[in-house]
């Protein structure tokens, strides 16, 4: 254990074991890169509330992403939840086209005028949301995309 390299090698082992890379991280990154050809703006995580279930009810995780232009809140089903739906709303509200990329392909909904939307029968696995610009909105507005989420 005399050289710096040997000591750093052992430190590396300790950190790899004590704070391991999340097992799905690489898959989630690769999933997110599928959209890399699209000209878009990535929404950043701004708030995450841990699952809060009440007496046996399934726990829902609430996650919020935002950019300068828009905030989107998503309520994600628990892993064991039989009802696989993702509800959410966007602010500012508007009838925007929303597209979900899931393990079984893509599906589209339009947000209500109050900004609410939901995707039903969402399969387990990765989930990513694309928020398309409003028709007739400012020219050059790019779609907004959330990072890939594990459902």
């Amino acid at each position: 254990m005399n050289t710096d390299e040997a000591l750093l090698g052992l430190l590396r082992e300790a950190w790899e074991e004590a704070d391991p890379v999340p097992p799905q991280l690489v898959d989630r990154v690769l999933f997110g890169l599928q959209l890399a050809d699209l000209e878009y703006e990535l929404l950043r995580l701004s708030y995450l509330a841990e699952p809060a279930g009440v007496r046996g009810e399934s726990a829902v995780t609430t996650v919020t992403f935002s950019s300068k232009r828009l905030t989107v809140m998503l309520m994600l089903p628990a892993a064991a939840d039989p009802v696989r739906r993702v509800d959410g709303w966007i602010s500012p509200a508007g009838a925007r086209r929303l597209e979900a990329i899931t393990a079984s392909g893509r599906s589209e909904v339009v947000a209500g005028l109050d900004g609410r939307f939901s995707f039903t029968a969402v399969p387990a696995g990765l989930f990513q949301l694309i928020i398309h610009p409003v028709a007739g909105g400012p020219a050059g507005e790019r779609p907004l995309v959330t990072p890939a989420l594990q459902l």
Partner: protein, 209 residues
């Protein structure tokens, strides 16, 4: 599994067959070049090779697991959109590690500001970092080492974690993030390792292992 790399020349220290003899940054350069030459699977290999490195670098800045993941995803996307500006393919690993550190540092500082402003969110913002009593390490030497790492200053822990996973970090940005001059990175690294050795020297279990 990462290779032990000699920081002096960037070469792998261990004598293992084939790819294992090449330093991580050189493998990264190979994958990047192949991807730029229209081999889509090479991007896959690059992501698999370097995502673990990026993870440990980002976590050195005390980000939560969720924030760390967010920063890593953003960094890979940034690589895709800036790929054509990386002329020297040998530097792709440095580009990634520097980008991810800069972003992790920014997020950590923002979070610290919020903590001061809103004490209510303190609980949430504390990273779920494993303390000395946290993980049970299977490697005995690593387990003994782990007990002492936490006695080092935050700056030492951050610097050692960064250099343990990236043998050739960009010193200029690292100096800014650690709040020291470029010239003192080397001496600081040495002092941190010496401090760790001194702690280990006083541990009988370490001396026996």
């Amino acid at each position: 599994m990462l290779l032990p790399v000699n920081p002096a020349d960037g070469r792998a220290v261990s004598a293992q067959p084939a790819d294992a003899q090449r330093p991580v940054w050189a493998l990264a350069a190979d994958h990047f070049t192949a991807w730029r030459h229209e081999d889509p699977a090479a991007l896959d290999r690059l992501v698999r090779l370097l995502t673990p490195v990026l993870w440990h670098i980002v976590r050195a800045y005390g980000l939560t697991r969720e924030s760390a993941e967010d920063v890593i995803q953003a960094t890979w996307l940034a690589l895709i959109s800036h790929a054509s500006s990386i002329v020297d393919h040998q530097s792709v690993m440095r580009w990634l590690t520097t980008t991810v550190r800069r972003e992790a540092w920014r997020v950590a500082r923002e979070r610290d500001r919020e903590r001061v402003a809103e004490p209510d969110v303190l609980e949430l913002a504390i990273p779920a970092a494993a303390g000395p009593d946290g993980p049970v390490l299977t490697n005995r030497a690593a387990a003994v080492l782990w007990r002492h790492v936490h006695q080092l200053s935050q700056r030492c822990q951050r610097l050692l974690r960064v250099v343990a996973f990236d043998s050739r970090p960009d010193y200029a940005s690292l100096a800014t993030e650690l709040g020291v001059s470029i010239g003192s990175i080397g001496p600081t690294r040495r002092r941190c390792l010496d401090k760790l050795r001194a702690l280990l020297a006083g541990d009988r279990e370490w001396c026996d292992s």
